[in-house]
């Protein structure tokens, strides 16, 4: 049985840059053949993780495996791993079409016709040079190379930066359509969680170089619930649950809790006049990575600041 992409395994991976610990004893599995969202605040270690998987660098300690093998100087896995960084690793002074020729020659799975379609979609002139492009167009060209490479493991690290909204949505739609037609492993790192949420099958949240959670997106979404109502009733309902955040406006309180509610829980909440609602992935992410919560300043059931949305 063959899998439609490369899986990734990290075991006890630590990456230091001098005194800075970018990744701290990370254990992680990325399932082959999924779109995995790699989420984290600035400096959480997302780009470093991508660099290790793509063999741009070696970890200070620990083990990185791609498709079961160490990726460093691995002639078999190297052509199948494509990391597209916001910085754009392209031939700056060569025309875009010459860049495509270069990447097509290096990537066995590169689809030149698909690249031409993407160039048209993003209105990229094949005769222009990357060094002369705007930030958005540079991002679009990075996306073009990343998607057209059809690598068994494609890591797109903040590739949306500088793209206008229509281009971003064109990117998301194209990514999904191509992924369905050519299943492979795609790791998508972005701060625009609301926009990419619908694409994700698995989610990895990094925080200060550690894995905060790794879970499939559907079950994660199901675990986030907002409870809104009078303060006393809300406090009673959330007692003993994992509270991610609390907002208060007058006598009304909204609490975000993490955990699956049973039918009995739902019935009890309704009986006491509480409103239950879903929590978008982005809100869950914000609550989970809130530095006050992380540092223990915001404890469960302690009212937080801020008004209700």
């Amino acid at each position: 049985m063959t899998s439609p992409g490369y899986g990734v395994t990290l075991r006890g991976v630590t990456q230091r840059f001098g005194d800075t610990v970018a990744l701290d004893d990370v254990d992680l599995e990325i399932r082959p053949g999924t779109i995995t969202g790699l989420l984290g605040r600035n400096g959480s270690g997302k780009t470093t993780l991508g660099s290790l998987v793509a063999a741009f660098r070696r970890p200070t300690s620990g083990e990185v495996l791609v498709d079961g093998e160490e990726p460093w100087e691995n002639e078999r896995t190297a052509p199948g791993v494509c990391l597209v960084r916001e910085s754009g690793d392209v031939l700056d002074e060569d025309r875009l079409r010459d860049n495509l020729d270069f990447f097509a020659g290096a990537r066995p799975t590169f689809d030149r016709a698909f690249a031409a379609e993407l160039m048209e979609l993003f209105e990229l002139d094949p005769k222009s040079k990357p060094s002369k492009l705007s930030r958005g167009k540079k991002s679009a060209f990075g996306i073009t190379v990343g998607l057209a490479s059809r690598a068994p493991l494609t890591i797109l690290d903040e590739v949306h930066l500088g793209l206008d909204a229509p281009s971003r949505y064109a990117f998301y739609d194209t990514l999904l359509a191509d992924y369905l037609a050519h299943p492979r492993t795609i790791v998508l790192s972005s701060h625009l969680i609301e926009e990419i949420e619908r694409l994700l099958e698995d989610v990895v949240v990094l925080d200060r170089g550690r894995v905060l959670l790794t879970q499939d997106a559907d079950s994660l979404r199901a675990e986030g619930v907002s409870v809104t109502g009078p303060q006393d009733a809300v406090d009673a309902f959330v007692a003993g649950r994992t509270v991610l955040g609390t907002q208060r406006l007058g006598r009304t309180t909204q609490v975000t809790v993490r955990g699956v509610l049973t039918d009995a829980d739902v019935a009890r909440a309704r009986a006491t006049g509480l409103e239950l609602g879903p929590v978008p992935l982005q809100d869950l992410f914000v609550h989970l990575t809130d530095p006050r919560r992380r540092d223990g300043v915001v404890a469960a059931k302690v009212p937080g600041e801020g008004a209700l949305p």
Partner: protein, 248 residues
């Protein structure tokens, strides 16, 4: 093994080494054509100017091109690292492939420039002889004893090949350790080419070393070969373990 890889194997494409080599040699050939085209024009103009001023040209004008034929490919090799190493790895090829392709390119470039320079020097000598001029080399420290094409190539090749290898070494040290260390270590990374030039010429005229190495003999060729091997070995070791830096 993944399905994507199975598909990949069914697709015909050049090997990573052939692909990297074609890119690097292509750029080197393109730059060489421009370099020698410009050099030829400059050499012809310089010859005409000297002839108009002096009435004859008793010096070798082509010999003056040696320094630029050393340092232009040297800077070209530095740029090769700066512009291509990161993109090469990002395109899914290994450092091993890059090392092999860049070494072949460096040595080929050095030998190519040597062949052209030797040919031009011989052509100039023949032309000068035909009109009754001398072709003396005035550059201090540049001795060209050989008069045949093979001996001339043997004398010129060590410096011209090492210039390319040193350029690669300088480039990877800058890439790996940054601008500060790249600059501080320049005396070390450029040492092989400087040493070759010195040993092949009269730089050590006032030192006891003079006489130990006969410029007309095999010593410069041998020392050049040893220095080239050492330079290449250090370069290989540095590239094979270097992280890919993020451009600022």
């Amino acid at each position: 093994m993944s399905a994507a890889v199975t598909t990949a194997r069914a697709t015909r494409r050049p090997s990573p080494l052939a692909h990297a080599l074609s890119r690097q040699l292509g750029v080197a050939a393109y730059l060489a054509v421009w370099y020698w085209a410009i050099a030829l024009v400059v050499l012809v103009i310089a010859t005409l100017v000297v002839w108009r001023v002096n009435g004859s040209v008793d010096v070798s004008i082509v010999a003056y091109a040696r320094q630029s034929a050393i340092w232009f490919p040297f800077s070209q090799a530095i740029l090769l690292i700066a512009s291509l190493l990161r993109v090469h790895v990002a395109a899914g090829m290994t450092r091993r492939t890059f090392v092999r392709a860049s070494l072949v390119t460096a040595v080929s470039t050095g030998l190519g420039y040597t062949l052209v320079l030797s040919g031009l020097l011989l052509l100039e000598r023949a032309l000068h002889a035909a009109v009754g001029w001398d072709a003396e080399i005035l550059e201090q420290g540049f001795e060209l004893v050989g008069s045949s094409f093979p001996t001339m190539v043997g004398e010129l090749a060590p410096a011209l090949v090492l210039a390319n290898l040193c350029g690669l070494l300088v480039g990877v040290v800058y890439h790996r350790y940054g601008g500060w260390w790249g600059t501080v270590t320049l005396p070390l990374t450029v040492l092989p080419i400087v040493a070759t030039l010195a040993l092949a010429g009269e730089w050590f005229g006032s030192f006891p070393l003079d006489g130990l190495l006969d410029p007309a003999g095999d010593a410069p060729l041998l020392t050049g070969a040893v220095l080239a091997l050492v330079t290449a070995a250090v370069y290989v070791a540095l590239v094979r373990s270097t992280p890919v830096r993020t451009p600022r």
